[in-house]
């Protein structure tokens, strides 16, 4: 054992941590840049369904979201319990979708407008009636690329809450 005890002055030597803040700051900036804060406050309950055959939405800047679901309990006094549509921050009617699509298209470069995708985030217990109305409005607004937002699962037949 004495082989390792070189009898010199040991201990005392502190490891320099001068570079530590630099490393931490580097990580910090990385996460600051990649973080996306939730930009919309949901006024409705949306539990998206699960599916197995998913495709990724490649370009986030070309995606607009339409939320459909029943209002959250705190707002049910105002909005009722029937499923409603939320565009950005406000509860809207199906008729407002055409204008919404036009506004979203304004924000996209002209050449990329045909690639615009509308992602429908619909509560899984919602009924198809309102979803179909929304789809008809989207056809009217000529926004034909849609995506039914769903999350990944391995077992499609077992979805839990179904009515």
């Amino acid at each position: 054992m004495s082989k390792f005890k070189k009898g010199g002055k040991r201990g005392g030597q502190a490891i320099s941590t001068a570079a530590l803040p630099d490393i931490v700051f580097m990580l910090l900036f990385f996460f600051m840049v990649t973080t996306v804060m939730r930009e919309t406050e949901l006024k409705i309950k949306v539990m998206i369904p699960k599916a197995t055959e998913l495709q990724k939405l490649e370009r986030k800047s070309l995606v607009s979201y339409i939320y459909i679901g029943t209002p959250i309990p705190a707002l049910q006094g105002q909005l009722g319990t029937a499923p409603r549509i939320q565009l950005n921050d406000a509860i809207k009617n199906p008729k407002d979708i055409i204008q919404f699509v036009e506004e979203e298209k304004e924000g996209i470069m002209e050449a990329e407008r045909p690639l615009m995708t509308v992602s429908l985030k619909v509560d899984r217990d919602c009924e198809m009636g309102i979803v179909t109305d929304v789809k008809q409005e989207l056809r009217e607004a000529n926004a034909l690329k849609i995506s039914y937002a769903s999350s990944k699962t391995d077992d499609i037949l077992n979805q839990g809450s179904q009515n």
């Binding site: 910090l28 990649t34 973080t35 009924e127 198809m128 789809k135 849609i146 039914y148 499609i156 179904q162």
Partner: protein
């Protein structure tokens, strides 16, 4: 001129502050890309021109009622059997072209398959009630897409010895041959899911 020594600022707690911020951003970051089932809606209906009629035998009809029950080609069916049944129909019977239960074939010129390759005229027609739950609707859509994906994978495996998923990955990486193979497979088994407008048959239970 007395140059006074500037006292050094103790930067020891800088790391702590940075760590605190770092942990905050670590926790709030979500890295997931949005995913979903992609669909293309039909363009606005031209009221002057009605769509061309399609023969009954080429249509695989699926009806979903307000109680989330499936009626497939006139019989009740469990969701778990839908994928197999849809696959059978999409592939069809190439060697028995007169079988009325399966779709007709149309000779088409496709790269890698030569001229006049018989391509099934299958169309899947999906009709749901206004009271159908969205969860069920997505399950049905998912099963249909899965049926197509499985068939395409099997066909790509048989023809090129590579799965269709892999070919699509290679296509994304910019491989020209794979891109042409993907197109060929898509021509052999085109995805045709047509959605009729929903009927309100059953009363929605309140």
């Amino acid at each position: 001129m007395g140059r006074r020594d500037i006292p050094e600022i103790n930067a020891g707690s800088m790391a702590d502050i940075a760590f605190l911020l770092l942990i905050f951003f670590l926790v709030t970051t979500t890295m997931d890309t949005p995913t979903g089932l992609m669909r293309q809606l039909p363009p606005k209906m031209d009221e002057v021109e009605p769509p061309p009629p399609v023969k009954e035998r080429n249509i695989f009809s699926i009806l979903v009622n307000a109680n989330n029950e499936l009626l497939v080609e006139g019989e009740m069916m469990e969701l778990k059997n839908l994928r197999e049944r849809a696959k059978e129909f999409i592939i069809g019977r190439q060697n028995v072209p007169n079988d009325e239960r399966f779709p007709e074939f149309k000779p088409t010129d496709i790269e890698f398959y030569g001229q006049g390759y018989p391509v099934s005229k299958q169309i899947i027609s999906l009709q749901n009630d206004k009271g159908t739950s969205y969860g069920t609707y997505i399950q049905v859509q998912n099963e249909l897409v899965a049926a197509y994906n499985e068939i395409r994978n099997e066909e790509a495996m048989r023809k090129f010895g590579v799965s269709f998923d892999r070919l699509e990955e290679l296509k994304k990486e910019g491989d020209d041959l794979s891109a042409r193979r993907v197109d060929a497979i898509k021509d052999v088994y085109p995805q045709r899911i047509s959605e009729a407008e929903p009927k309100q048959v059953g009363k929605i239970p309140q």
